[in-house]
């Protein structure tokens, strides 16, 4: 029979339980996504690979865009932006689609955005080996700055979760959020240098571009992977501060609103 929680270690147990809950929910979501498809996790690679081929063809062959190592250049953009897009386009529905979890007494709702962003992180991670292969084929070899990759992942994770919280709570009271987010993400992709380089944008417009946190982030990934440089610490620090601020405010409003979620379901 299981051991009952005693009062001394109840805090420790709560953390352990949250971690366990997180892991079973992430694995549940991954299994549901791919369990019955014959290609399985391969589907996680299909979208970025297709985008890679289309962008490479259109911009290199048709539009004759001159960017060095264009396939890896575009693949980095597609993967980094894909994580954001995948997570945010789904975060609207996380409360409304998990009714059975939300109505479970004591279920920590604040876990749901983390679960969803992590599922997308997993997709990102299984595509990374392909990116490394592509870099290798283009003659790019690992360099010391590659050790900053975990740091980049953390910063991006903070940013995405920070945006996921407010969007998730907004969608419960205003169901159109999900659709608006979907459309906006499509548009934002075009004002983010995913398939073009920021150098091709007129200099005087750069400050506007940098308002979009994804611009600095994709820039940092490319600095590290393509050029073998350490990422700009000021950029990373700014992004971290933005991410943490979003996370704190978003989580607060999410918690404050969470008791209304149930009534809206």
């Amino acid at each position: 029979m299981s051991t009952k929680p005693s009062h001394q270690n109840s805090q420790e147990r709560a953390w352990k339980h949250a971690a366990d809950l997180f892991s079973v929910l992430v694995s549940r979501d991954l299994k549901i996504l791919y369990k019955r498809s014959s290609l399985g996790f391969g589907w996680a690679l299909v979208t970025p690979l297709l985008q890679l081929f289309i962008f490479s063809f259109v911009f290199r062959r048709a539009l004759r865009m001159e960017v060095h190592n264009y396939p890896s250049f575009v693949f980095i953009g597609v993967l980094v932006f894909g994580w954001l897009q995948g997570a945010l386009s789904q975060c609207g529905g996380i409360i409304t689609s998990s009714k059975s979890l939300v109505t479970q007494p004591g279920f920590p709702l604040t876990l749901l955005p983390h679960v969803m962003v992590s599922v997308r992180l997993f997709h990102f991670l299984i595509a990374l080996p392909i990116l490394f292969g592509l870099l290798w084929c283009q003659g790019i070899r690992p360099a010391w700055p590659w050790f900053s990759i975990p740091g980049l992942l953390v910063v991006q994770y903070l940013l995405i979760v920070g945006m996921a919280y407010p969007l998730a709570s907004l969608n419960v009271i205003f169901r159109d959020t999900q659709h608006i987010v979907g459309v906006s993400l499509q548009l934002i992709m075009f004002v983010t240098p995913v398939f073009y380089s920021l150098d091709q944008v007129p200099e005087q417009m750069h400050p506007w571009f940098y308002l979009n946190p994804m611009v600095g982030l994709i820039q940092s990934w490319r600095d590290v992977l393509l050029d073998g440089n350490w990422p700009n610490p000021v950029t990373l620090l700014t992004l971290s501060v933005v991410g943490i601020t979003l996370l704190i405010i978003g989580r607060r409003t999410f918690v404050a609103q969470s008791h209304c979620f149930v009534e809206e379901l």
Binding site: M1, S2, T3, K4, P5, R13, K16, H17, D20, L21, S23, V24, L25, R28, K31, I32, K35, R36, K99, S100, L101, V102, T103, Q104, P105, G106, F107, I173, F174, R175, H259, V262, E263, E264
Partner: protein, 405 residues
Amino acid sequence: MNALVKADGLGKTFTAKPTTAKRLHLSSLARPSRTADPFWALRNVSFEVARGEMMGIVGANGAGKSTLLRLLGGIGRPTTGTLEMNGRIGALLELGGGFQGDLTGRENAILAAVVAGLLKSEALELLPEIIRFAELENFIDAPIRTYSTGMTMRLAFAVAVHTEPEIMLVDEFLAVGDLAFQAKCNARIAKLREAGCAIVLVSHGMDQIREQCDRALWLRRGEVVACDTAKAVATYYEQEMREESLRRTPETLPLSTASGTPALRKENRFGSMEMEISGVTLRPGPKLTCGAPLAVEIQFQCPATLDSPIFALSITRPDGMICLDTNTRSARIPIPPLHGDGFIQLTIERLDLAAGAYFINVGVFDSNWSHAYDFHWHMYQIFMEGGSAHKGILAPPNQWTMKLA
């Protein structure tokens, strides 16, 4: 006695004014905002549930039972009053609601146990016991979508009772699986109670309330009508239901059913007549030999669609002694929403009643027993003949054997 659940003056309103969602809708921007009265789903509800106690909650649909259960589960906040829940809460609200069809029974069981508050290691440790309890040893690695409803319910129930909650919230359960499994569930519930678990049970079945609960709380339109011993509340409730049926019996009740049996309003026929029992056919007929089969066909007319009514049949002696009492709810016969004419038949394989006259009483009730649509009491008579019994009710086949040493 230390109370695990302590509710004091609980109230919950749902405002009918447009919600934030509606206010944000562009279409409603032009309209002036209405200030509607709040709707009190619960009002001034106070009660306590002690360690090891089982509290029943009864009431018609919309009386606030589910709202109360949700509040107890910490889902939503009470508008007024205070609520203390001193212990880990387990819930049997939507059995199997969180299950994922594509995952196996094992994966779902672990998931449900962790969601219910166990650590993964504890869930893995308990899993063999859960599987044994659910009697799913041979199917546990098949996807849930291949399970029957009964199997899914058994698994959900098994997980819920094994997570050892200190307070358990239950919405109409124990209609899980066959009788043997139900007995097992009841035994498990009794064991939980012995271990000090407080149970709050919402039920429509007064027999269940009487048999299992210590106390019961009766809600009507969000307010407490009675909070007393389970027996007392069940009796009040049933009495009220009878009065409600009487009250709803129209003044212009047809004087006889379609088959010509005379009916006297409020004497042997009750009900709101939203649905009418137009005739009862006994086969082979009203004169039966002891041990013979009997089929009772109940013809009905249902002018408007009624949601899953319950058909009931009883056999009584002229003095009112009930010899047989059965209904489609307890037999778990699914009745779809009804509309139009039709019939339902109860077949009794052998009727081993002692010789004498008996009445067949038939009725059809609203889906939560709140009132009768039509109830025919002592209108159809049967006569049993033969049989070896002299007095008493039963006359099953029997023989005497004697042996002298």
